[in-house]
Symmetry: C3
Amino acid sequence: MPRSIITLTTDFGNGSPYVAQIKGVILAMDPDATVVDLTHGIPPQDIVQAAQILPALVEFFPPWAIHIVVVDPGVGSERRIVFARLGEKQLIAPDNGCLTGLASRQEPFTIIELAESQYWLPKVSQTFHGRDIMAPVAARLGLGLEPSALGPRLERLIEIELPEARILPGKVEGEVVSIDSFGNLVTNITAEALANAPRDESVTIRCDDHETLGIYNTYADQPEMTLIALVGSSGQLEIAIVNDSAKIMLGVRVGEKVVVKW
Amino acid sequence: MPRSIITLTTDFGNGSPYVAQIKGVILAMDPDATVVDLTHGIPPQDIVQAAQILPALVEFFPPWAIHIVVVDPGVGSERRIVFARLGEKQLIAPDNGCLTGLASRQEPFTIIELAESQYWLPKVSQTFHGRDIMAPVAARLGLGLEPSALGPRLERLIEIELPEARILPGKVEGEVVSIDSFGNLVTNITAEALANAPRDESVTIRCDDHETLGIYNTYADQPEMTLIALVGSSGQLEIAIVNDSAKIMLGVRVGEKVVVKW
Amino acid sequence: MPRSIITLTTDFGNGSPYVAQIKGVILAMDPDATVVDLTHGIPPQDIVQAAQILPALVEFFPPWAIHIVVVDPGVGSERRIVFARLGEKQLIAPDNGCLTGLASRQEPFTIIELAESQYWLPKVSQTFHGRDIMAPVAARLGLGLEPSALGPRLERLIEIELPEARILPGKVEGEVVSIDSFGNLVTNITAEALANAPRDESVTIRCDDHETLGIYNTYADQPEMTLIALVGSSGQLEIAIVNDSAKIMLGVRVGEKVVVKW
């Protein structure tokens, strides 16, 4: 069995004592675990953003990795905590919709409610289940515990509504869902949604009142400072300015509508 | 023997070459070590903040972990560097008061001055003992070196004055000592200090000119946007706004007085 | 063979999904690898800053570590990706000048173009070669693949012009090349460049319109709030204010000229 890989996605911010405590719990139980920070920069309690970014965060990890997601505004309420096997990924998260982005893409899935408290820390606080329940359960799974031991199976996850691209005749309508460190505008329009779009300059891509023609393969296909549309490394349409920041140059934010037309 | 765990708490900032160099020194000596970033976000040379946050950072790590603390405004002066076993924790730090928060809570303790230079890097700079002395000593301890080999025993650590809660008849006075990523105000008033406070709405919690009644168990005990007081996951009284930021809504900073009265 | 150490230096920002994907690729291939974040804070596409900071980032790592550098504005163009052994360091990077700081210091060197696509991910995007080419190649090298299998040898790396200190009679002219978390101004004037400077107050160090006398050994050599010059822990002249921020107090930026005169 390879060393266990446990990843963390939270809204705690870098350097938070909450992150340190989760790592301490995991390493005390499984000193051989590799604990990987995916991001601690989810905006506080922003379930939608967690749901949207998770597919990209976990995509390239091997199937035995266990992904902990702590974006948990309902901690201490009746919301459940679940183990979920979604396609090739294993996650532990509050059942609040934060897995929607993955669940809507991945089949088959197994959902188990974390109910068996013998796998948790002996003392469970009412405000930090990431540390007291999710972390020890992840460590035990990494050490070989069967997920079925954790509690009863559930039929489904709670899902939230995520902005999805609309595919219309000769047109796809979507929006900017994230902006990377380069200022590239990443949309929710996938390569599949663009399957019928011609690969030439008869395609118009419009965002706010900015417009560009053609969907390219890479930034280097156009000269510096040119507005360009391309399908990025995660299979989503991006709007970029070659070697500059589309975010700054266009003044565009997450949520801005994007229309591809041909 | 489990793989060694060496944690880092510094004021260098994320991505600093100083952090990279410490990791390089440790991994060159012990490639199997797990090096864990606790935080690099201590404000520059802020010994008080390091002392206050350390107990929460190290709390859940196993006793064999070695915690390096590099908040060292006196580097190059006569200040000592010490190995300290404080209760169940092992630390390496400059003897400048940054261990006060732990030392005042943990017994028994062993303090050893780092004096035996054969365990340091061959060339020691005058401005970066975290890399040249603390990192190689931590690596050697992780590999099995006895702390007693490091130098002479000391009787005590240098301690600094930390703001402590005052327990009075029918009243506890403390202050905000940190603010987390959610904007929750964490105070230095512990659950123990509140042992005599009644568990109902006859308790008043006051911070600046804001007031709330009752000490709750979790955020979900009150509706959204309500000011709430509760004992948080580290056993300290917190003032929060349910699903919003008390920091922003109340305009309160670290150091603000908090009074609990009944 | 020790566990492989693979480090990451990028311009992606902390918490970027791009960083998560690189780590996923490496750990899927080599679950025992230790992946170390050096920095993700290189300004977007800033090859010059990457070149200047890399020597300090990698300096203390053991020779078997593999350092991935993803600052790659030319991704998708004809620019090459290389494996480079530069003195005691092994790196994988785009051949765009980002290794100049190391290459100009280290001998001997071996440069190999990454051309053998059987060592890459099966599907290579046109916009993210850090994930699709560099990460899997680093993992395979860590597992024992010979660099010579990766592709043809090259004679030289592309080099860029870096600001270098000018050594003149009785004078060295350089500039501020980075500023650390303490606000200390780190220059490109090395201890070697100052070999002929006397070790007393007959030396004048000038930066913008600020001036200080003498080159000291450590911050503690002068009282608090004093402007001081010293050779820092990486062997470069620094201008600091003892226990305060020279950056803020002097209002100086990267690129400001520094003159040492005697």
